[in-house]
Amino acid sequence: MTSNAILHPDPAWRARLTGAAVFVLLLYPLLVAAEFRPWLLFDAQSLRAAGGFLRDFLTPETDPAFLAMVLRETWQTVAIATAGLTLALIVAIPATFVISERLSISRLGTGHIRPLAGIVRQVLRWILMVLRSVPELVWALLFVRIVGLGPTAGVLAIALSYSGMLAKVYAEILESSDAHATDVLLANGSGRLPALLYGALPDASAELVSYTVYRWECAIRGSAVMGFVGAGGLGQRLDESTKMMAGGEVATMLIMFVLLVAGADLVSKLLRRRIG
């Protein structure tokens, strides 16, 4: 038996070769556009700069005053996320009531919605779409220009982009819950608020709460990152330390960052299990 009999040649090698060649051809313009020249990382000058930074990086800063500052900024990050999400809820919940077709009374029976109500809904939907399509980081960048550096810009950025997101998803959750109870209540003359509270909410509340908690977790991640454009919290300090090339401080803050994200993840998981 020759070794050829054991090492079967790949039956599809021609197709694979062509595929790989086409892939490389398509890849080349992308590599040029992304200025992908990784060897620049290894020239003498950047190696010297990187060397010092990486050496510092291995010994995280543990000065008590610095640690206290990091903890304070971490709390500020959580507070920005919580405050932003609260403001977002204040906007999102009424908006949900407006855009959700489930609570429309004119829809009952004929299935037609009054034109005026339809227009109001559609306009509000478009506004919410704009609010959530602009990335939160861009909102933060704009608000830093308006209200100056600091947490106010972060809170406002989270409030705006999350109100668009929450209202849309809340309305979707309400509309995907069982329509029967709400319809019967509305058809028998109940007001919209009792119809919502007794018809739609019992079915949808677990999902609504768990989505909100998940978004809170996202907001914490978002607010940590927003500091990079000057909107307060851990990100802003991380940005400053990186610019000063203080590797030790960056290392400490990155560790804090990983712990914060893991903590938010854990709390969110516990809360969702408790409620969902």
Binding site: L27, P29, L30, L31, V32, A33, A34, E35, F36, R37, P38, L40, L41, S46, A49, A50, F53, W75, Q76, V78, A79, I80, T82, A83, T86, S133, V134, P135, L137, V138, L141, L142, R145, I146, V147, G148, G150, P151, T152, V155, P194, L197, Y198, A224, V225, F228, V229, G235, L238, D239, T242, M245, V250, L254, F257, V258, V261, L271, R274, I275
Partner: protein, 269 residues
């Protein structure tokens, strides 16, 4: 017993709640109050007459977006650069994730699995933007830092997903090849990999979609693409140019959404 036939006019009492629920609600309320109390928020500065005036003046400055052909061409280049960053970043991440996933799926022993999963978790829990800020020190301003940042975060995500995909594959095919004398690599390549590959490919495409969105804003720390342009024009207070860049970002995100929706529809059918 007398039955009550008069119609109820008040809303019935809500069902009783457990003590634990009240505790959680109380905790959440305390968190919210503490958040607002501890933040140095400048509401007064924001809602005064002149603050509103200056804010609306600032917003009005965006009004006609810059549509000079030269500037549009520049925006288009940044648009393409953003796409390129996301594509290269995702491909790099998939290449790095593949060997990490082999270790993460326990193919190199239990210790290697635990260590690899830890590394993947760390890669994953640091967001792209933080990676970009740190990598700027090493790679300098420009799209290379952004590409590597996307690759670092995505490698963590894909490594974890790939490892889970490999672990969840039916082991019978590979085992029967092994018992019949195929070498380990051949058994893996011909039995396990073909089963896992479609799932890995769809994870990679999904992450590419996410990375396009991320690449659009990554530049605000100086890592190339549309974000860097936005930061540049905003810091020079060239509002019409900034408006054009924001519109370009929105178009990019909308295109990605539409493409992914169409692709999903086509694949579902």
């Amino acid at each position: 017993m007398k039955t009550d036939t008069t119609p109820r006019t008040t809303i019935p009492a809500p069902p009783p709640r457990q003590a634990g629920t009240w505790l959680i609600l109380g905790g959440l309320l305390a968190l919210i109050v503490a958040s607002f109390a501890s933040l140095p928020l400048q509401w007064s500065a924001f809602f005064t007459r002149e603050a509103i005036d200056s804010a609306s003046e600032f917003l009005a400055g965006f009004a006609p977006p810059d549509t000079a052909p030269a500037f549009l061409a520049k925006t288009l280049v940044a648009f393409w650069e953003t796409l390129a960053m996301s594509a290269i970043g995702t491909i790099l991440a998939a290449l790095v994730a593949m060997p990490l996933a082999l270790a993460g799926a326990g193919r190199l022993g239990r210790a290697a699995r635990a260590v690899t999963r830890l590394v993947l978790n760390v890669l994953r829990s640091i967001p792209e933007l933080v990676w970009a800020a740190v990598l700027l020190v090493l790679a300098g301003l420009g799209p290379l830092a952004g590409t590597l940042a996307l690759a670092a975060h995505t490698a963590g995500v894909l490594g974890r997903l790939f490892a889970d995909a490999l672990e969840n594959i039916e082991p019978h095919a590979e085992q029967s090849l092994r018992t019949n004398g195929a070498r380990p690599l051949a058994a893996f390549l011909y039995a396990t990999l073909p089963q896992a590959l479609p799932q890995m490919l769809s994870y990679t495409l999904y992450r590419w979609e996410n990375n396009i969105r991320a690449a659009a804003v990554l530049g605000v720390v100086g890592a190339g693409g549309l974000g860097q342009m936005l930061k540049y024009h905003l810091s020079l207070f060239q509002m019409p140019s900034a408006a054009t860049v924001v519109i370009a970002m929105l178009v990019l995100v909308a295109l990605v959404d539409a493409a992914s929706y169409a692709l999903r529809r086509a694949l579902m059918r």
